[in-house]
């Protein structure tokens, strides 16, 4: 049932040219150089340190690596991180397909 739902949503996104982050609960990530990263649609903080921020997403996790991290703003679904960002990595659980 869930799979069908997902398929319908994906089909709708493709055919109707709706933004994917709205229809499919995907994260929307905006980066300004290495200085800022703005993440919408996250599901909570898993780990936070000066060099690393691990966020829970609807599917899988997002790992941001860098230096001097400061969470400027944090709201239920939004997060603004400041620092020197080196890497943004998606971590997929098990068999889910890679992006």
């Amino acid at each position: 049932m869930r799979k069908i739902n997902k398929m319908v949503r994906k089909w709708m996104t493709d055919k109707m040219e709706l933004p994917a982050d709205v229809t499919m609960d995907l994260p929307r990530i905006t980066m300004i150089g290495q200085l800022h990263i703005y993440i919408e649609n996250h599901r909570g903080v898993l780990k936070f340190s000066n060099q690393e921020l691990r966020l829970l997403l609807e599917q899988g996790q997002l790992l941001i690596k860098g230096n001097h991290f400061v969470i400027k703003t944090i709201l239920p679904e939004e997060l603004l991180l400041e620092g020197v960002i080196d890497q943004v990595i998606y971590i997929n659980e098990g068999e889910q397909k890679k992006r």
Binding site: F48, S49, F69, V70, I71, E78
Partner: protein, 395 residues
């Protein structure tokens, strides 16, 4: 999301969170909609962040739940600033007093400068200004307006053609333009005296020259009265004629005066209202209450308050309400004739030279129509009719 400046108004604190599950603490905070920001990890089990003052109490259950310890490091924002100010009341009072004194001093007269006046006039002007109450240390809003000062000062000092008054910050600036009288010219050039009006000669008095007329002669305008040629025939000399030729001139004047006239005068009763206006919003503070006069006239005066160089949107506003009284003046016909003749005479005197004499007057015609008395009066006036006419010498 709240702006940082709204946070400074409502106040916020910096907290240190120590514990194993700091991330959990963060997630719980987000979930409870506790606004936290500027999160930074400082140690293995320590993070530092800001929390809005209004949310501080809501942290307590989350702290218990997640088994972390919270330490308050800093307190920032207006509420804490107020607390500090209260604890240092003397310092704050000093600051307020400073601004207040500066404000008071900005509205005082500090200097009176006079420009373009000779020492004599400068002295006179200084006295006149002093009489008006413009002295060092007086408040601007208690003084008459600049236009008024200019008018009064100009009236008092006749020697000056024009006195410009400006209020430049705290300085009254008087710019004087002095009158320069043309030097009196002695009539040294040879001239005749001729008549300037149609008249009958009344009397002649010649200092120099040859009189050409005798009393009771009739002269037209431009007729020769005293010739500048003197001496016997053949030995003619030219001299400036000098003398006084009095002629009798007839004037006719028409006056009409209504029998009933309405007048309004001030009774002397008055009421003064004081108010401040901020951005055109007026706040009366003295002279409240209704005006009990039936008829009145209002004189307004406005003064802007200054702070250093800037004029504030605050105005001091003084209103003087003067009671008026209307009364009806009714003349009988006789009285009307009397006043009319008096008026006509005054009017005539204005037109004539100073040394002219009204010798006789006759009412020629008198009507009383539509509540108006109309008179036609004939005057016989004796005045100097001599006018100089230079002799242009041909070579």
């Amino acid at each position: 999301m709240k702006n940082s400046w709204t946070n400074t108004f409502s106040g916020f604190t910096r907290i240190k969170v120590v514990g194993k599950y700091t991330e959990l603490f963060l997630n719980r905070c987000i979930h409870e909609k506790v606004s936290i920001w500027h999160i930074r990890r400082v140690g293995e089990e320590t993070i530092v962040c800001y929390v809005a003052l209004e949310d501080v109490k809501r942290i307590r259950p989350i702290v218990k739940e997640t088994k972390v310890k919270v330490y308050f490091i800093e307190r920032k924002g207006v509420p804490f600033l107020f607390k500090k100010m209260i604890s240092r009341a003397g310092f704050v009072a000093g600051m307020v007093a400073f601004v207040a004194i500066l404000f008071i001093l900005s509205n005082m007269v500090w200097n009176i400068s006079i420009e373009g006046a000779s020492p004599k006039i400068e002295h006179e002007l200084k006295q006149a200004v002093d009489e008006l109450g413009i002295k060092r240390g007086k408040f601007h809003f208690l003084l008459p307006s600049v236009e008024d000062i200019q008018m009064k000062v100009s009236e008092k000092i006749d020697e000056a053609t024009w006195i410009g008054v400006t209020l430049n910050g705290t300085t009254f600036h008087f710019n004087v333009v002095e009158q320069t009288f043309p030097e009196k010219q002695e009539p040294i050039s040879p001239r005749h005296l001729v008549s300037k009006k149609k008249a009958i000669i009344y009397d002649i008095f010649v200092e120099q020259g040859q009189p050409k007329v005798t009393p009771n002669d009739f002269v037209e305008k431009g007729d020769m009265l005293v010739s500048g040629f003197i001496g016997k025939e053949g030995k003619m000399e030219i001299a400036p004629a000098k003398g006084k030729i009095l002629g009798e001139i007839w004037y006719k004047s028409n006056v009409s005066i209504p029998l009933v006239t309405e007048f309004s005068t001030f009774t002397g009763e008055k009421k003064t209202k004081h108010s401040f206006s901020i951005f055109n919003f007026s706040i009366p503070f003295w002279g409240l209450g209704k005006i009990e006069f039936n008829e009145y006239e209002t004189n307004e005066e406005r003064h802007r308050l200054n702070f250093l160089n800037w004029s504030l949107p605050i105005e001091y506003h003084r209103e003087v309400i003067l009671e008026k009284e209307t009364f009806v003046r009714e003349y009988s016909e006789e009285e009307a004739v009397d006043t009319a003749t008096l008026m006509a005479k005054e009017e005539l005197m204005k037109k004539l030279d100073e040394d002219a004499v009204i010798k006789g007057e006759n009412v020629l015609h008198q009507t009383n129509e539509n509540g108006k008395v109309t008179l036609m009066i004939h005057y016989q006036v004796i005045e100097d009719i001599a006018k100089s006419q230079p002799i242009i010498q041909g070579d």
